[in-house]
């Protein structure tokens, strides 16, 4: 009980800091702390496997990807300040939403409902795996397709050159990126997936033309 309250306080305080601080890097670290506290909350709610996935995917994946996005776009320094009316309006909307739903929740008196009997086996990770590949197999496979499409979409969007020379964006991006460290080049991950042999065996004439492009 005490642990649960502590976890909630840490998660909410870190979330408020993440939502209000001007510095975007601080906001990402506060989000990571909040997500860690939420993972502990999942542990208290008897779901250790979900807590592990929360730590792995959210803290280890999404937060780190956000930090990389900030480093690639150098927007941490130039955070614009929001207007006071905008903050007041958003705060009013959020507090009104909280108050309305909280009134419904407290009025519903859910604590009086009987807790159904469940066996220890129903809580096991084995049961999750069995259900995931049996009852929810279609959803599971659909989610894998969604993730594949998300990866392809992310690579396509990020590796697109702005405007000229769409066709050779992959190789040219790798060639330009080595010379222009200031250039945004998230497409390099896509370019480096390509076999390196054509790029390294490319005649130096095309290399020279590329460097001319860079100067132009």
């Amino acid at each position: 009980m005490l642990t649960a309250g502590l976890v909630m306080i840490v998660a909410i305080a870190a979330a408020i800091f993440a939502a209000t601080t001007r510095n975007i890097v601080h906001a990402i670290f506060a989000l990571a702390i909040s997500l860690g506290a939420i993972a502990l909350a999942f542990l208290i709610l008897k779901s250790p496997f979900v807590a592990a996935m929360e730590v792995l995917i959210y803290i280890g994946g999404i937060s780190v990807a956000m930090v990389f996005a900030v480093m690639l776009s150098s927007v941490g320094k130039s955070a614009p300040s929001e207007g006071m009316t905008r903050r007041l309006g958003a705060g009013f909307a959020a507090i009104a939403f909280f108050a309305g739903v909280a009134a419904v929740l407290i009025g519903a008196d859910l604590d009086g409902l009987p807790v159904p009997e469940t066996s220890a086996e129903a809580w096991s990770v084995q049961q999750i795996g069995r259900d995931l590949l049996d009852r929810f197999n279609v959803v599971f496979e659909l989610l894998s397709v969604v993730l594949l499409l998300a990866i392809l979409g992310a690579v396509t969007i990020a590796s697109r050159n702005d405007g000229h020379d769409e066709a050779s964006s992959g190789n040219a991006g790798a060639g330009l990126g080595a010379r222009m460290p200031d250039e945004m080049r998230p497409g390099d991950s896509a370019a480096s997936v390509n076999p390196a042999s054509p790029a390294s065996a490319a005649p130096s004439a095309s290399d020279a033309s590329r460097s001319e492009e860079a100067r132009a």
């Binding site: 939502a19 975007i24 989000l31 909350a41 990807a65 927007v75 049961q127 969007i157 998230p186």
Partner: protein
């Protein structure tokens, strides 16, 4: 800790995320707000799962699906943010009123 406490906790997380989405102008800050809202929904799922479910694997699997979709959404959103930054040199939502890249 009873069920209502956990539900209020998830509601607070969701409201904080809602505030971040409405108030912030930085695209990454808006993405942080969306992650907070998704986590509030996940806590809600697991709270009902822990207290009222006869079949506790179902709620956990729902949360796993939410986490997977959040990962896909974050990957797409971050690549869009990088593309926006490349074309406009800023990630302020105030100037983003055209569809053409």
């Amino acid at each position: 800790m009873m069920l209502t406490g956990w539900l209020l906790f998830s509601l607070a997380l969701f409201s904080i995320g809602l505030y971040a989405v409405l108030a912030r102008r930085n695209l990454i800050a808006i993405l942080i707000g969306i992650e907070l809202m998704l986590n509030g929904a996940s806590v809600n799922f697991l709270a009902f799962n822990a207290y009222l479910s006869k079949d506790p694997a179902v709620g956990q699997i729902a949360v796993l699906f939410v986490i997977g979709l959040a990962a896909a959404e974050a990957a797409i959103a971050l690549s869009i943010i990088l593309a926006v930054y490349r074309s406009r040199n800023a990630i302020d939502v105030a100037g983003l009123d055209e569809l053409k890249g």
